[in-house]
Chain length 343, copies 2
């Protein structure tokens, strides 16, 4: 078995196919950090961090500056002792996306060593998962065109970004529903509504006969009481995303009975906290979905193996790599829209 | 990779070196079920169930009658998809010790296939753990003699069974302390006290200047309010054993803030719930110990690999195999009192 010889960071910038607009943010590109873990026996593992300033407070230049520190923290530890590395890198809680990438790269190197895919190490619950695709905020016409295209491409689960304009959002939902009947909807306000707006929204949608499978993060991250208020006044399941970063966040949400769903993102939690949240959610009868930031195929690979291995998710919102331009595919998976297959 | 070809059960009876007396129960022998999982590629995995009627309501003849049913449930599933098998066998919640043995045997077969020890699949956090040894209930003289022998054998952590007679227990603690100074103590009442007796007990012990590292299950399993009352009135950490069987039990204990420690036993929880409890405890700032029923080296092997792999436990009470007569050692570990080393 191999000890960690080096951890290398590399910056990769990817352009979005078109600007990605959600509440309070428009992205045209994403700069990610590729993490390469090399063992002394030559095995190499890869991970990717896609930092989020909006959600995690992370800045890519700050994370990139940690390369030497990370080497000092984990160099010499054997990949077979991967929980030791999880414990050490859990101290990087202020930089969760790089923690995720390091933890995954170590698992990936261990996987290479023992010739066993990561999803099998994690339990091999599934070998195929279905992803949604996302309609970002735009004019009514743009939203309708996106919806039509996504539905025609074969996606059965459509994620709809809302939260900047209540009336336009309701109108958009009505029109999208007309042309995508049979689809399932995840509606994500990215903290854009007040609790009262959120309840107005779901009541209007309900009256139109539209079913929402998950209503994500209607209110600001810190407003746990507001989240709970929406949960108990919504006919649809309510989920936490920005409110649920660490396992400690999720334990609080469970104690407060604040939500029906948790959206796990490796970029918020790393592998270690994500594993904890999976187990906690099952014990508390919460449902789970898995999401992403701006990962390329290298980073989406992490979430696909995690989701297939644990088999814990009702919905997979792993479409960032489908929305950016990439020169080379880097995943240990195959894509057949709307499915991913681990290999 | 291999699909499950057969699951075979075998009865093994072991005699205790001397009768094992705890609150409300004296054991002279234990009848366990060996579970052998064979894959279609020839790999074989082993597990052991040590049923407990007192704790789990299990009867060995009832569990043994499930062999055919278990074959129907999991035959043909690939060992690499072990979380699928966990999910299916979680339905055997009324028979947790056989669930544990099946789940472990599958992991063990997978481990043989990929030539990677189980503790590494689970994270390889440690390669060495320290076990305690137990003084059962007896006359004052018997308890003192046991304490002296255990301490001389090299054990640093001593588990002391109490709960049948408050005054004798206090006297026994005082005498044991005199001849084992420097040792750590886990005191286990096995539900034998009322909440008020439990508080009298800890206060008396505290006044004698004795420190208890874990005060286990002072009150009946279902008395969660009583457990919480003891916790908040005890100078020593209070733990749940009989109150904490499934992950759902533990989630309730967390919500109620009822304890400081959880004693995980694979025989109560299986691998699946034990993994969940490990993650939940860390998120809720609870401490963990791991215990056993009447497992032989075959069953203790399961807990050693689980404990080393997760690295989650402050104390390891894995001494049943040290107290029974065994013709043949069956563990994938080495013993150097008081340590176990995974191999």
């Amino acid at each position: 078995m191999g000890k960690i010889k080096s951890v290398r960071f590399k910056l990769n910038t990817f352009e979005y196919e078109k600007p990605f607009h959600i509440t309070g943010s428009i992205s045209t590109k994403t700069t990610n950090i590729e993490v390469v873990v090399e063992l002394d026996n030559g095995a190499i593992g890869y991970g990717e961090a896609s930092p989020s300033f909006r959600v995690n407070g992370e800045k890519v230049e700050a994370l990139f500056a940690l390369e030497q520190t990370v080497n000092e923290m984990i160099k010499g530890i054997n990949s077979k002792n991967y929980r030791q590395i999880f414990d050490i890198t859990d101290k990087l809680f202020a930089f969760p996306s790089i923690k995720a990438a390091i933890q995954y790269a170590v698992l990936d190197a261990f996987s290479v060593e023992i010739n066993t895919p990561v999803y099998q190490i994690l339990g091999g619950a599934r070998e195929k998962i279905e992803t949604d695709k996302t309609i970002s905020i735009g004019t009514l016409e743009e939203r309708i065109n996106d919806a039509r295209r996504i539905f025609e491409e074969g996606f059965n689960v459509i994620k709809i970004k809302v939260g900047e304009n209540l009336k336009e959002d309701i109108k958009a939902l009505e029109k999208i529903y007309e042309i995508t009947k049979g689809a399932k909807y995840i509606v994500d306000a990215n903290m854009g509504y007040t609790p009262k707006q959120a309840i107005t929204f779901v009541n209007e949608i309900y009256r139109m006969g539209i079913d929402i499978n998950v209503f994500e993060q209607p209110v600001p991250a810190q407003d746990i009481e507001g989240l709970k208020f929406v949960r108990f006044n919504s006919p649809f399941p309510v989920g936490a995303d920005e409110s649920a970063k660490t396992k400690f966040d999720v334990m609080r949400l469970i104690k407060e009975e604040a939500v029906d769903y948790i959206n796990i993102k490796l970029m918020k939690s790393g592998i270690s906290d994500a594993l904890a949240i999976v187990e906690m959610a099952k014990a508390a009868n919460l449902h789970l979905m898995i999401g992403c930031m701006g990962e390329s195929s290298l980073g989406i690979n992490q979430s696909i193996h995690f989701a297939a291995g644990t088999g814990a998710f009702d919905f997979h919102d792993l479409d960032s790599s489908l929305m950016i331009k990439e020169k080379k595919f880097r995943g240990k998976y195959k894509t057949e829209i709307p499915y991913y297959f681990v290999v």
